[in-house]
Symmetry: C3
Subunit: 339 residues, 3 copies
């Protein structure tokens, strides 16, 4: 499977690379070369939505570049740094080739450039953080392996929260207006009126927000990327985003937050994980997955409020927490079949 994919990729990318013979070194002994590194980086970007597929990675990247050149480069750069760190430390080729050491770096990089002002110094900080996400990934892989708990985007959440939080003590790093202002949680009031356009925009923004992009076209490109990789994953993402929207609307969340996809992106990830990755799809697992998506939307509200005194965003922590709980609970429920 893997080598086939690399061949396909090489065929696609050949016009760009055939001129530089040095870069194409793959031979009988299987030496690592730039193409397989690029493939790992693209799969890493695909793995952000749990797709071990470099074509999905290419479409996710296209979606990001469509919205922002900065974040497009950030995703590539972050995935490359964290993958390269893993290679330097001798991580097994199977794990690197599957993109397992790329997705957290990609997200950490986008997140830091979303919340911190872009500057030379910030770039150095991103390198440090992306490399750090590789260590956290390795630690959680080792810790969770025996328990069969998936690591998900926990290294991204952990690394980003700590590296952004540290800026409150480091004068050379400046936050952007995207970072929430620290405050004490207050009672919610209903803001704005939810209309059909809230749903239409929210549906695709919810998918786009997985990479911090608030752009409907980006969301559509992401959905196409998912479709190429797995029809079930694509359907799950759309259902997950809708579920997040509906839960948020029915419980009285603020309209701008619903429209922006804030209540959707965690449910998108939960849906992909529960419906298309961890369980065999049947009535029981579909209902179990739906319950997890609903819980994820509530959890987003909760985590967002819990982090308010720190002025920190929820990131994908709600997805990670809910899927950990639902996957850990699985073996107690015999009606669910692990995929």
């Amino acid at each position: 499977m893997k080598s086939k994919n690399v061949y396909n990729l090489r065929a696609i990318l050949a016009p760009h690379f055939s001129s530089t013979g040095l870069l194409v070194q793959e031979n009988a002994t299987g030496q690592r070369c730039l193409l397989s590194f690029l493939d790992a980086v693209l799969r890493g970007i695909g793995q952000v939505m749990l797709q071990n597929n470099s074509y999905a990675g290419v479409l996710f990247l296209a979606g990001i570049f469509y919205n922002s050149t900065l974040f497009g480069w950030a995703a590539l750069f972050g995935a490359a740094i964290s993958t390269a760190t893993a290679m330097l430390l001798g991580v097994s080729r199977a794990r690197i080739d599957a993109g397992l050491f790329g997705f957290n770096g990609a997200l950490v990089s986008i997140a830091l450039l979303y919340f911190l002002e872009a500057a030379i110094f910030t770039c150095a900080y991103v390198v440090l953080a992306a490399a750090c996400s590789t260590i956290v990934m390795a630690a959680l892989l080792n810790l969770f392996d025996a328990r069969k708990i998936p690591v998900l985007t926990a290294p991204f959440v952990f690394t980003t929260l700590f590296f952004v939080m540290a800026c409150a003590r480091l004068g050379h790093l400046h936050s952007t207006s995207n970072l929430p202002i620290a405050g004490l949680p207050k009672i919610a009031i209903i803001e704005g009126v939810v209309t059909a356009s809230t749903f239409a925009e929210g549906l695709f923004n919810g998918i786009a927000q997985v990479f911090f992009q608030g752009n409907v076209v980006t969301g559509i490109l992401f959905a196409i990327g998912l479709l190429i990789s797995s029809r079930v994953a694509c359907a799950a993402a759309l259902i997950g985003s809708s579920t997040g929207l509906i839960v948020a609307w029915s419980m009285g969340a603020a309209e701008p937050a619903i429209r922006s996809g804030a209540f959707g992106f965690n449910s998108v990830l939960t849906a992909i994980a529960m419906i298309s990755v961890f369980y065999v799809l049947n009535i029981s697992s579909a209902l179990y997955g739906l319950f997890a998506m609903i819980t994820t939307a509530v959890m987003f509200a909760a985590v967002s409020a819990v982090l308010e005194p720190l002025g920190m965003p929820a990131l994908t922590a709600p997805f990670v927490i809910v899927v950990w709980i639902f996957v850990l609970a699985g073996p107690i429920f015999p009606k669910l079949q692990t995929a």
Copy 2:
């Protein structure tokens, strides 16, 4: 043991149920019927104080109804929802029959109706939260099983904190005045004068507060429920409540908090767990248990202050944290004998 108890219960409840033959379907093949479901629900309410005993559950329920009809129904409703969720997901009958999937639902339900205004919408939210507590319970049962760590009321604490916290983002849910106001921890000042009546009321309020009830008669009914189930558990509860009171008073806690039983209910649970459930009672384990009770009262002060910036209550988190630590430490201390 189990079937005998169901028979006794049926004898007691017969006047209410014999008229409806449909409800009594237990036959040679052991089909689940409403009576065994009711028994599981009552045991679930008993398990809030670690008693696998439906009579204890009946007395706890009587104590709650004595103080508040709303909370009485809430306890029954919550335990029923979380137990039914477990049954739908195919949890093993032994676990359901022991009430293991009822106690967190009962507490979640009471807590949400204590901290949130009662409304139709809140009821739907309670259903979601109680069902969610079942998933958290299953996750922790699976995670802790190999380590022989008891789950205790952790699913209740976790689920309640997140579902109440989420209301800061959800406009259709409104908190009551029972919810602490978010603020920054300040230096403590001594409030009020502790008298004999503080102790007399605090002793039984401490037991009653396990179910969020501030009522001396309720506390006495709970103590009778414990006595029916286990004399040691009843004695432990009284000693635990007293220890919480004395620690709080000697360290200068506020008199109204002491009188209300706030410093007692976690120590009550710690006492029952350490003295009557997890260790064989001897001098060593009694002293170890006393140390755990004292630590629990300090931990209540700490957790209550830690959660102040979030405006969240400590619930039974101090009990859970302290018993986890003391039980995990047990195997290192050869003088303690596990029950």
Copy 3:
């Protein structure tokens, strides 16, 4: 090794103890005596910097007494209480003799007297907390043993945070001006100008702050203590302190914090752990350790900001978190050799 060391110690301490024959009871049956208890206490103080060496303990103690008699006694007292608690609970002699049940007690005792006003009542509170640190230590030893995760100073961090936090509800305990004031994290501004004297003082203050001592001579005495125990550990401590300084300075941390050693002491501990304890020293592990030291300095900024709404200090939590992550990640990186 152990008995040899006790003999040496006895030779050193003989003038003080030979007059009291009762204290020297070690005989063929290996009865525990005051001297071996004293040795365990001194090793406990040595273990604060991961040195199972009573001479290191003596020099650390000398360094503390040089700066403050109160904290000198506090260290001895705390280590004695936590070690005695472990003995009463029957902990195996090997663990006690290695000082494993002394270092957390020593640190808890110093920390509580640093953050709380010294008074009779505070002393009783210190006894409770130091004994509690022994239970937490046992719990973590049991929990982490199978995973080969070192406990480090986690029991100290946990116990101190909870016992200081509890004072927000306990009127008889009063905090000193050393305790941070609770507030919401704000954007960092660059304070002061870093000069050569910032570095010179910061280097040794960073080592001294491991025991909460802001004193250059104390730091030098600590370094000598490390040198006696292990030249590699001493070099690691100096490199760790320097790394913390340089990271903090390059990222724009406040000059007074850099001078005080605040950004150094966690990196000192990380350096000792990563370079001289857990890994065989080679190029790979040295670079890995350096990465861990840099991450620790960033983590200090983060943890310090995370705890700001609670008004709590970071203590050695950054060291504990970073070393846990880097040690857990180790097995995934085949270039690292576990010591």
